[in-house]
Amino acid sequence: MSKKFLLEHVNVPRIETINVYREKGGYAAVEKALKTMTPDQIIDEVKFSDLRGRGGAGFPTGLKWSFMDRKSDKPRYLVCNADESEPGTFKDRYLMEKLPHLLIEGMIVSSYTLGAKAAYIYIRGEYMYIVRILEKAIEEAYAAGYLGKNILGTDYSLDLYVHPGAGAYICGEETALLESLEGKRGNPRLKPPFPAIAGLYACPTVVNNVESIASVPTIINITADKYNDVGIGKSAGTKLISASGHINKPGVYEIELGLPVEDFIYSDEYCGGIWKGRKLKAVVAGGSSVPILPANLIITTAKGEKRLMTYESMADGGFVSGTMLGSGGFIVMDETTCIVRNLWTFARFYHHESCGQCSPCREGTGWMEKVLHRIEHGHGHMNDIDLLVDVAKKIEGNTICPLGDAAAWPVASAIRHFREEFEYHVKYPEKVKDPKHFEKEPFEREALMVNG
């Protein structure tokens, strides 16, 4: 069994209550950090641990913290990004539902480090039942003296709030999240300034993903050295992966970074192989925004090396033959999947979720969706395929926030790797009339598929 830093006790009965959580060693990191470590020591520890942001971008957490303007006389804030809305990603939900105190413990240690006296958990509105779980846990933590005035008798005080969003993916973008938290329309801000300088209420703010924050107590407890013993190079520690799609065992798994993708898909410890004995066709490895890869390229890189679950190995080959680890939303597709239909679904999502502020994303996402809808339903033209590539290219890099890129990458990569399938839709409109067209008769492109 591999190391579990986050989910070790997830199956302990009543681990969501503070007493059981403490019996299992919970809140030791708060004791250790507040009583024996200075904020600078903790920042160094997190830096040495090589923990990287688990929200998608993989930015080194310690480095992000060190950018925070801690000399400013303004209040400082820590905001936990629990908006988790990327299609294919559902790990934060699992973590918060099962281990609310782990997140709270991480919030306390991180807030202490950053000098925040108030911290927020911004959670997606659809997770209303988790709001209640968190609020109950927060109440317990206040009662036990881990939150509120003079935590554990030290002179550090912290208030922690849970704030549900109203159902917008864009509010997961950190600056849109801050706008929304301030009670405004969730439009992303122009950067710079970055939140570390002017974030919530124009005060220095750090925004971190749930999993990033929940990883901090482990680092404090076992030290940075031990933490980055797990993993490979700059991909240290463990990562939660939300595995979904055509596999035998979908679910949330904690893996050690560095695990070969092939093992993740086929071993019984994780996904348990492709369902119904079918062949693997493609994987979207890090949430809907990252480039899709055909089976052969997800198992081995273009150089012929085994692809590993690390930030670096996933990106090997750039956007030509690689992808990204992203948020760890691992979507597996078998041979019966229609890539065009899948892409249309994603495009529909981005069209629906664009905030509409900037013209390339507002107009381009809708355009791509409509063209994809036509192609998938047998009304496409051959030049629509290049049109899609062109529209995607014109959105990418020209927008205020990365949602534009996130909408463009899946389109560009699906056409790059599966162009014949788009052409097939145009050439044989009759054959794609049935929405389940590849279920009866898979689109054959043997070379790219891998047998289960």
Partner: protein, 335 residues
């Protein structure tokens, strides 16, 4: 102070100046177009993306180029920054893309739009757009609504520059309209119809770059290029009283605030000046209005063109109809 070079021309500007404003100080063709930025409205800009430029060198201290094209209207210059505007094919390509995006859902009802002739999008499209559309889907549509008793909103034409919301935020004491919904379903709207009722609300009409917000008192009265614009003023206790009178014979068809060469109002006017004084006798005339840059109105002064040039222009259009790439327009006919 910071020294910045834009398309080879160098200028020194105070710290904090944006690339766009530095370029405006230099002037000429390198000035990026702007659809959402408005110099007299704080926080405006950054949205339409038509002003994108390439920063080839960040600053003297950190000479690395910036990885993406930057919105010149919101990016401050740094000492030693080197910017490419029309000298970068990438920038020209991006501008053209943005124009295309702005047009796909735009109704192109210019023949019946009051803004035609003084529309920033029309000018921009003429300069950077392509004459053919690749968009064959249905355009999104909204109902026309009255957002105040003097203002008509044609949401179909809106490009979501947000300028009118900044006017309401910054010029009036209570904003009652805003952006509802998101993505391409976003719309400018009031919660209650005709809710906009404020002494300075009329300025929303002037800041609107397209024909989304138009003056109901001027609706369908005349094409602007058939009017005679004159600068005029009156003693107004509420505003500067400096306006443009759009006249035909002795009739004042419309009153608007004065704009600069970038079509931006520097001194906003009150609704009384705008809507209540449609009589020549209410005004002291300062002289004819100079309409610069781009505007179709400026072309009101028809000149006899030489037939040779006209033939070239006609040939150009014919080539295009045959499906060839449109060659560059004949400069003598479009300047």
């Amino acid at each position: 102070m910071a020294k910045v070079t834009i398309d080879g021309a160098t200028i020194e500007v105070p710290d904090g100046t944006t690339i766009l404003n530095a370029a405006r100080q230099i002037g000429g063709e390198s000035v990026p177009p702007a659809m959402c930025y408005y110099s007299t409205l704080k926080e405006s800009g950054g949205k339409c993306r038509v002003c994108l430029v390439k920063v080839a060198q960040g600053s003297t201290k950190d000479p690395r180029p910036m990885p993406k094209l930057m919105a010149s209207c919101r990016t401050p210059v740094m000492d030693g920054m080197v910017v490419q505007s029309i000298t970068s094919p990438e920038v020209l390509e991006a501008r053209k893309s943005v124009v295309e995006f702005l047009l796909i859902n735009h109704p192109l009802d210019c023949p019946i739009c009051d803004q035609a002739g003084e529309c920033d999008l029309q000018n921009l499209a003429y300069k950077h757009g392509v004459a053919k559309t690749r968009y064959e889907e249905e355009r999104r549509t909204f109902e026309k609504i009255d957002i105040g008793d003097k203002i008509k909103l044609h949401m179909n034409r809106c490009i979501l520059c947000y300028r009118c919301t900044f006017v309401a935020n910054q010029l009036t004491d209570n904003r009652v309209h805003g952006v509802l919904s998101r993505g391409d379903a976003s719309e400018i709207s009031t919660y209650i119809q005709k809710a906009v009722d404020n002494d300075f609300s009329g300025n929303m009409i002037d800041v609107c770059p397209v024909g989304a917000l138009t003056d109901k008192t001027f609706r369908f009265k005349s094409r602007v290029w058939f009017t005679n614009p004159m600068d005029g003023h009156r003693n107004c206790p509420k505003c500067s009283g400096k306006v443009v009178l759009w006249t035909k014979g002795n009739d004042v068809l419309r009153v608007s605030a004065r704009t600069d060469q970038y079509n931006e109002v520097k001194e906003f006017i009150c609704n009384e000046c705008r809507f209540e004084h449609k009589n020549m006798n209410d005004w002291t005339i300062d002289g004819p209005r100079h309409i610069d840059r781009d505007s179709v109105i400026a072309q009101n002064h028809y000149e006899r063109t030489d037939l040779q040039k006209l033939k070239l222009e006609i040939d150009r259009q014919i080539e295009f109809e045959k499906g060839k790439q449109l060659p560059e327009p004949n400069p003598s006919l479009t300047a």
